[in-house]
């Protein structure tokens, strides 16, 4: 009898513990409860429950701790300070799979907040335990371990190197080949986080043969998996030409262009990022992508998307056009310039506008044909406005000015240059006048048009220091016209109107008659 009563006490205690831990775990899912729980001192209560004899209580306590640590970094620091991590790491090696999942969850929740916390996790020797968990049969355990490793490796290069040194990469590549989609996703995301820091780490990832598997998985229909896979491939290929060539040799093009029409936005963004990282290295790689029709696909993508996700597409077009004149012409022929002009107008963010201005500069700087294509899309006034706008950021102004200069130095399309005469500041005006002085001596129709549209008048009104380049250009322009027309416009007087419109008309008729 008394034995039963004694045992009953223990049973009650166990029930109470179970209920407590389950309720805390449930409450921890809602953010508004977490502060209350923290003030109630839940950490110190949960810690001994981790060492409980009943496995269910241990697992639920670990789960509750993980959810709490997930919420914000103070709690994660409290977890670290309470010396819970070594216990978790020890039991990660020993216990059953539910506990392993919960322990890996806690480690991930602690490591995700900052590099110091991740370093603390690494210092407890968590890496070896996690790598051992990667060899487990249960896919849930593998997923949790890979996720924790990914969050650790995310912060900086040393942590990623520590993860690699513990031998995780071959196991991650094996995880990628698992049939469960969740494991594949997480493994791909971890490989991406490892490879993004430095070329050596990316080379380590490539040496284990990851590229072939990642390339196979690009054909998988699952959207989140594709996000991670493309992100991983992009991070690998961004570091050097050899890595980019290896990624290309896996024959992912033109199949990945189909993913540019995926309904998921981030899949499209990551594909475009991958293409940008590949094209930025050499002209041959850009040529390959252009020949596969990639440029058209990216331009359509720019048309369909809005906001920040357009940035990689714009940068890709800029890189392609920067390599050579052929490729820039390919971009122009694929109707890239109107689309980029739309982007320039629509996007409110400064950094996207800066990228678009840079891309225009790269397209238009090669030959007069290219500059004409850029100018004909009515882009130059917009660039000028961006340069002159006081609210644009420094970066945007610098890029707009550079683009404007490089396009103007090759532009011979006069109808587009005329509006710039009126608004441009002197450093831009110099280039505009220079172009006029190059074209006008040879083209009579242009000369006529220049006079009738009032350009000559404007030119006369410009104040230039004698002996400067601007004055030389103005002289060159003036030399194209007979004396009387030039003298018709009084120099440097902006206020006085010209002497009567009749006289002006007669001069024009005479000039048109002789021209």
């Amino acid at each position: 009898m008394s034995q039963r009563q004694v045992l009953q006490v223990f049973e009650q205690y166990q029930k109470a513990r179970t209920q407590f831990v389950q309720t805390v775990a449930e409450l921890a899912t809602r953010p508004q409860n977490v502060e209350t729980l923290q003030n109630a001192g839940v950490m110190s209560l949960l810690r001994p429950l981790l060492l409980d004899t009943v496995p269910t209580i241990q697992q639920t306590a670990a789960l509750a701790l993980g959810r709490l640590a997930n919420y914000n970094d103070d709690l994660a620091e409290a977890v670290v300070k309470a010396d819970i991590l070594p216990q978790l790491v020890y039991s990660l090696a020993e216990q059953n799979r539910f506990y392993k999942k919960a322990a890996a969850f806690v480690l991930r929740a602690v490591a995700k907040h900052s590099a110091e916390l991740a370093q603390a996790v690494v210092d407890c020797g968590a890496l070896d335990a996690l790598v051992i968990s990667l060899e487990e049969f249960d896919p849930g355990v593998k997923e949790a371990a890979a996720w924790a490793l990914g969050y650790i490796a995310r912060h900086n290069g040393q942590l990623a190197q520590a993860v690699v040194d513990s031998g995780a990469v071959p196991l991650l590549v094996l995880c990628i080949q698992e049939p469960e989609i969740a494991v594949k996703r997480i493994a791909a995301s971890t490989l991406s986080d490892i490879a993004k820091h430095s070329p050596e780490l990316a080379q380590t990832v490539v040496d284990t043969g990851a590229i072939a598997h990642l390339a196979q998985m690009t054909l998988n229909p699952d959207a989140k998996l594709k996000r991670q896979v493309f992100s991983a491939l992009g991070q690998i290929s961004k570091h050097s030409v050899d890595l980019a060539e290896m990624v290309v040799e896996a024959e992912i093009f033109p199949a990945v262009l189909a993913s540019l029409k995926d309904p998921d936005e981030y899949v499209r963004k990551n594909v475009t990022t991958l293409m940008r990282e590949i094209t930025k290295h050499t002209p041959e790689l850009s040529q390959m992508i252009v020949n596969a029709g990639g440029v058209a696909a990216v331009i359509d993508y720019l048309g369909d998307s809005r906001g920040n996700v357009r940035l990689p597409g714009i940068m890709m077009l800029g890189y392609v056009a920067a390599h050579s004149e052929n490729l820039a012409m390919a971009v122009v022929v694929s109707k890239g310039v109107p689309q980029l002009a739309i982007c320039l107008v629509e996007e409110p963010e400064d950094h996207i506008k800066a990228a678009t201005a840079w891309a225009f500069g790269q397209i238009g700087r090669h030959t007069p044909e290219h500059a004409r294509a850029v100018a004909a899309a009515n882009v130059l006034p917009k660039l000028l406005n961006l340069y002159l706008d006081t609210q644009s950021s420094e970066d945007l102004q610098v890029k707009a000015k550079k683009a404007l200069k490089s396009v103007l130095q090759k532009c011979t399309y006069l109808p587009a240059l005329e509006p710039l005469l009126y608004e441009a500041p002197s450093n831009i005006l110099k280039h505009v006048i220079c172009q006029f002085s190059k074209v006008l001596p040879h083209d009579s129709k242009a000369r006529r048009l220049f006079v009738t549209s009032g350009g000559l008048k404007k030119v006369q009104e410009i104040k230039a220091e004698p002996g400067s380049a601007l004055q030389e250009y103005i002289n060159a322009i003036n030399n194209c016209y007979p004396e009387e027309i030039v003298r018709f416009f009084p120099i440097n007087t902006r206020d006085k109107h010209s002497r009567g419109s009749d006289k002006w008309q007669s001069v024009i008729m005479k000039y048109e008659g002789s021209g």
């Binding site: 189909a258 029409k261 252009v290 029709g293 058209a296 359509d300 012409m329 694929s334």
Partner: protein, 354 residues
């Protein structure tokens, strides 16, 4: 002669006189005549010398003239040759310039900047872009339709399930159901569904389909639901699963039946193939250095004072040939005995201990 002497002797004085006169006259005129003679002689000599000189001059002129003509013609021939050579070289140069012009034009137009190739490339690129855009559009459309179709099917399935669960809301003749209001011109879609649906056999809606398995459906279909034979249970029966498994137990052939008849040959073939594949070196453990050939030291207890015994090297058993001749040779291969084939696999629990 005497006559001559007679004639000449009176003239001897005259001759003397004449001789002196002559000498005197000669003496007087000697200077003049001498100088005259000298003059005449010198003139003659001069003339002769002049004639000789002019002769020589003429001859020298002829020689020089001939020589100069010869040299000049030679020189002229040289100049003609040189001019001819220059003319040819100029011609060749001009032609070479023409060839080089053509070649450079061709080369630049073909290899450095091929306008038509570039034009063709840009046109082909445009077409490829068009094709890519079309294909991507089609793909997007296809995927959208796929997704729509899947969504519709799911919706259809959900509605079917809902109708199954609400099958009791079907309207009767007496009482129109919720979805068949008499004020509506025609019954609601749900009402039509309710009319068509078949009610679910169990109380709750089917949650998941059975997992796919390769065995025929009858195997699992009656796994848990054998039809009851008596109302009251008769005794502790085996669970239905076990009985079903026993009823449909697959063939478990013995090892002998399961091995193919040519297993030995196949194994030999496999071994040969493996040897062929893997064995690269025939003598893998050759020593690196030449050890001096050590003399073989035989075993002590196999050596006799006179010679090596045969036992231990040539045969390893004591053989009594006389006894052995009566017996049959030793059998190495037997037929299989099926003692333990069925152990643990019979339906009854005979022979199994706890």
């Amino acid at each position: 002669s005497m006559a001559r002497l007679v004639r000449l002797t009176p003239q001897a004085d005259r001759v003397k006189e004449a001789y002196f006169t002559r000498n005197r006259i000669a003496e007087e005129n000697r200077q003049r005549e001498n100088s005259a003679a000298v003059r005449i002689q010198s003139w003659i000599r001069g003339c002769r010398a002049r004639a000789y000189l002019s002769h020589i001059h003429r001859k020298a002129t002829i020689i020089q003239k001939t020589w100069r003509g010869f040299k000049a013609r030679e020189h002229f021939r040289q100049r003609v040759k040189a001019a001819y050579f220059l003319m040819k070289m100029n011609f060749y140069n001009k032609m070479a310039v023409k060839i080089q012009q053509r070649w450079r034009g061709y080369y630049v137009r073909k290899y450095v900047h091929n306008y038509y190739a570039r034009k063709r490339y840009l046109e082909a690129l445009t077409q490829k872009n068009e094709q890519m855009r079309r294909e991507l559009e089609e793909l997007a459309e296809h995927q959208r339709q796929e997704r729509q179709r899947v969504a519709m099917e799911r919706e259809e399935q959900e509605k079917y399930v809902r109708a199954q669960r609400l099958h009791f809301l079907l309207s009767t003749k007496q009482c129109p159901g919720v979805f068949n209001s008499p004020f509506r011109p025609e019954p609601d879609e749900m009402e039509l569904r309710l009319r068509r649906v078949k009610p679910v056999r169990t109380m709750s809606a089917p949650k998941e389909s059975w997992p796919v398995n390769p065995q025929p459906s009858s195997y699992l279909h009656d796994k848990e639901r054998l039809p009851p034979i008596h109302k009251t249970p008769q005794g502790p029966f085996r669970p239905a699963v076990e009985v079903q498994q026993q009823r449909y137990r697959p063939l478990e052939p013995s090892l002998r039946v399961a091995t193919s008849i040519t297993a030995l040959e196949e194994a030999r073939e496999e071994l040969r193939r493996q040897e062929w594949r893997t064995r690269l070196i025939d003598h893998p453990f050759l020593p690196f250095s030449k050890t001096p050939d050590k003399k073989y030291e035989p075993l002590l207890h196999a050596a006799s004072p006179y010679q090596q015994t045969e036992y231990g090297t040539k045969h390893f058993r004591e053989e009594d040939r006389s006894q052995l001749e009566k017996k049959k040779p030793f059998r190495r291969v037997f037929t299989t005995c099926h003692v333990f084939d069925k152990f643990g696999r019979l339906y009854s629990s005979a022979g199994k201990s706890v």
